[in-house]
C-alpha cells in the first residue's frame, strides 16, 4: 500500500468538499443542533421543571438493576440529568459521524462520475485498494474530527449547565471515552465503506444519496438503539462490540476491493 497515493486522494476529496457550501452547511448545522441546542434545552428544562424530572424518574425505575446501581447515591434531579446526558444522548454521537460521512462518501465515486473526473485517476498507477482507502478516509477523517470536536463541546455544555446540580465535573464517564474512541470510529468506518460501495455502483450523487439513505438509515437506527443499550453495560462489552465492528470493517473493505472493477466504472462514464 502506497500511503502517499492514499492520502493524495483523501486530501483531494476533503479539499473539494471544503469548497462546497452545500455539503459544509449541514456538516456544521447538524452537530450544532444535536450536541449544543438539544442537550442545553434538556438540562435547563430538567433543572427548572419538577414534573419533567418526576416523569423521567418513573421511567428510570423501570430500567435494569445494573443501571439503577450506577445511579445510586444521586438526588432525583441529578439522576434525571445524568440519565439523559450520559445514556440517552449517546446515540447522537453515532448520528453525527454517520450523517457527516454519508454526505461526503455518497459524493466520493458518484460525484466524480457525475463530473467526469474519475477516469483520469483510473489511468494512474493507484491500486484499487489505495483508491478505495483514500475515498473512505476522506469521509472518515472529517467525520471523526467533527465527532471529537462535538464530544468536546458536548462535555463543556453538559458540565457547565449541570454544574449547579452536581457541583462537580461528572462527564465524560469511562464508557463515553470507549464509545468515542473505539465504538464510534468502528461503526462509522462500516457505514462509510457501505456508502462508498454504493457510490461506486451508481451513476450520480443524488442516486447514491437516496440509496445510501434507504440502506444505511435502518442500519443506523438499529445500531443507535443497540448503543443506547450498550451504554448500560460494562466497558468490556463495549470494547467487544467495537471489535466485532472492526472485523466487519475489514471484511467489508476486502469485499469492496474484490468487487471493484475499473471497466464497470467506465461503463457509466460516457
Amino acid at each position: 500500500m502506497n500511503w502517499q497515493r492514499v492520502f493524495t486522494i483523501t486530501r483531494k476529496d476533503i479539499k473539494e468538499v471544503a469548497s462546497t457550501g452545500q455539503i459544509i452547511a449541514p456538516m456544521v448545522i447538524i452537530p450544532l443542533v444535536l450536541i449544543g441546542i438539544i442537550p442545553a434545552i434538556a438540562i435547563v428544562s430538567l433543572r427548572f421543571s419538577e414534573t419533567g424530572t418526576i416523569s423521567l424518574l418513573k421511567a428510570i425505575e423501570k430500567l435494569p438493576p445494573t443501571l439503577m446501581q450506577q445511579l445510586a447515591g444521586y438526588t432525583g434531579n441529578q439522576k434525571a440529568i445524568y440519565f439523559i446526558t450520559v445514556y440517552i444522548l449517546a446515540s447522537f454521537f453515532l448520528i453525527i459521524p454517520i450523517m457527516v460521512s454519508t454526505l461526503i462518501s455518497a459524493n466520493s465515486f458518484a460525484g466524480e462520475k457525475e463530473r467526469k473526473t474519475l477516469e483520469g485517476i483510473l489511468y494512474t498507477p493507484i491500486t484499487d485498494l489505495e483508491l478505495i482507502t483514500g475515498k473512505v478516509l476522506a469521509s472518515f477523517i472529517p467525520a471523526m474530527a467533527i465527532s471529537l470536536l462535538s464530544f468536546f463541546v458536548y462535555s463543556v455544555v453538559v458540565n457547565a449547565l449541570a454544574y449547579p446540580v452536581f457541583m462537580t465535573i461528572y462527564f465524560p464517564t469511562f464508557n463515553w471515552w470507549i464509545l468515542m474512541l473505539w465504538l464510534v470510529p468502528t461503526v462509522s468506518f462500516l457505514v462509510i465503506s457501505l456508502v462508498v460501495l454504493i457510490s461506486a455502483k451508481v451513476r450520480g450523487y443524488q442516486e447514491a444519496n437516496s440509496i445510501a439513505g434507504a440502506i444505511v438509515l435502518p442500519i443506523v437506527l438499529v445500531t443507535i438503539g443497540q448503543v443506547t443499550g450498550v451504554m448500560y453495560l460494562s466497558a468490556k462489552i463495549i470494547l467487544l462490540t467495537g471489535l466485532l465492528f472492526l472485523v466487519a470493517d475489514a471484511l467489508l473493505l476486502r469485499f469492496i476491493t474484490k468487487s471493484f472493477h475499473r471497466d464497470r466504472l467506465i461503463v457509466y462514464i460516457r
Binding site: R5, E16, S19, T20, K116, E119, G120, P125, I266
Partner: protein
C-alpha cells in the same frame, strides 16, 4: 521488439452485440507520433482505454506496451504512460493543485511534483493562473491544463484523445509544435486520436484509419495517400469562353489517359508523374488563354474520406 512502444495483436472489444473494435492489430515505434483517425464512434476512445487496461478486450492475442505484457504488468505500465481522454479537471481546485495531485499519484514527491507542475504551467503559458480555480478557466486553458496533467510524470508514452478539441487555431498550432519538439528532443511516443486531419498529417510519423472498429489503413501519411491515389491529375484553368480541343490533345499526347472538361476548368489524367512537365510544355505552346496549370496533390484528408466512404 526493443524499439516498439505499443504492439497490439488481434484485439476485439464488444459492448453487447456492438463490436467497438474488430480484430485490430498494429505496432508503433518508440519516439513516433502516431495518429489514430476515424469518425465519431469508430472506436478511438475504446482503443485508448483498452491500451491502458481500463477496459478488458473481448478477444486478445497480445497487447505489449514498452515490451511489457499489458495484463501482467499493468501497474508498471501505468507508471510510464500519461493519458488525456475526454475527462474533466477538478474545477473547484486550482491549476497547480490539479497537477500536484496527479504528480503525487504517479509517485513523485511533493517537491518533484511542484517543480514539474511549475515547468509545465510555464510551458503552456498558464503560470499567472497557477493558483486560480479551474472553474474560472476558458475551454482552451482547461484543455492545455489537461495536456499538462498527462505530461506531469514525464511519461514515455503519451496518449492524447482529441487534444486540440476546444483550442483556437493559435493554441492548436502551439500544442502541435510542442508535440513535434518533445518527440524530436526525447524518445517520447505520442498516441493521438483526432478528427483534424490536416494537423495530423503535419505531425504524425504513422497514422491508422479506424472505421466501424476496423483498421482500414495503416502507414505514414504519405504512403497512405499513395496507396489510395495511384492516378495523377493536372488541373488547367482557362480564360472565360475558352475551350481545349480534347480530341487533339488525346491524339497528340499518348500519356494522357483521361480528360474532364467543365466550364473553364479541364482535368487531365496522365499515366505517370514524370509526364506532367511534357504536358505543361505542350499546353504552353497552344494559342489558348491559360491562367494556371496545377498538379492535383491529394492529402491525408482526401485519402481518409476515400477510405471511410468506401463501403
Amino acid at each position: 521488439m526493443k524499439n516498439i512502444a505499443i504492439e497490439a495483436c488481434h484485439i476485439s472489444k464488444s459492448f453487447g452485440n456492438i463490436a467497438a473494435l474488430d480484430d485490430i492489430s498494429f505496432s508503433i515505434q518508440k519516439g513516433d507520433v502516431f495518429g489514430l483517425l476515424g469518425p465519431n464512434g469508430a472506436g478511438k476512445t475504446t482503443a485508448v482505454r483498452l491500451l491502458n487496461g481500463l477496459i478488458k478486450p473481448t478477444e486478445i492475442e497480445t497487447i505489449s506496451i514498452l515490451g511489457l505484457d499489458l495484463q501482467k504488468n499493468i501497474q508498471d505500465i501505468r507508471q510510464r504512460v500519461g493519458v488525456l481522454t475526454d475527462t474533466n479537471l477538478y474545477e473547484r481546485l486550482s491549476a497547480i493543485d490539479n497537477l500536484l495531485i496527479f504528480g503525487m499519484l504517479y509517485g513523485l514527491s511533493h517537491k518533484e511534483s511542484s517543480q514539474r507542475a511549475e515547468h509545465l504551467l510555464e510551458q503552456f503559458e498558464l503560470s499567472d493562473r497557477a493558483s486560480s480555480k479551474v472553474e474560472t478557466f476558458s475551454k482552451g486553458m482547461k484543455q492545455k491544463l489537461s495536456i499538462a496533467r498527462a505530461l506531469i510524470s514525464d511519461p514515455e508514452i503519451v496518449y492524447l484523445d482529441e487534444p486540440t478539441a476546444g483550442l483556437d487555431p493559435e493554441a492548436s498550432h502551439e500544442l502541435l509544435q510542442y508535440i513535434i519538439k518533445v518527440s524530436s528532443d526525447s524518445s517520447k511516443t505520442f498516441f493521438i486520436t483526432s478528427h483534424r486531419l490536416e494537423e495530423m498529417e503535419s505531425i504524425c510519423d504513422t497514422v491508422a484509419i479506424l472505421d466501424r472498429g476496423r483498421i482500414k489503413a495503416f502507414g505514414s501519411p504519405h504512403d497512405l495517400v499513395n496507396q489510395v491515389f495511384k492516378d495523377h491529375w493536372v488541373t488547367v484553368t482557362l480564360g472565360n469562353g475558352t475551350r481545349l480541343n480534347i480530341s487533339l490533345l488525346k491524339l497528340e499526347l499518348s500519356f494522357v489517359q483521361d480528360i474532364e472538361q467543365s466550364n473553364n476548368e479541364v482535368k487531365i489524367k496522365v499515366d505517370d508523374r514524370a509526364s506532367i512537365p511534357k504536358l505543361i510544355r505542350y499546353l504552353g505552346k497552344l494559342d489558348t488563354d491559360i491562367y494556371s496549370i496545377a498538379e492535383d496533390v491529394p492529402n491525408l484528408q482526401d485519402a481518409y474520406l476515400a477510405i471511410v466512404k468506401e463501403k
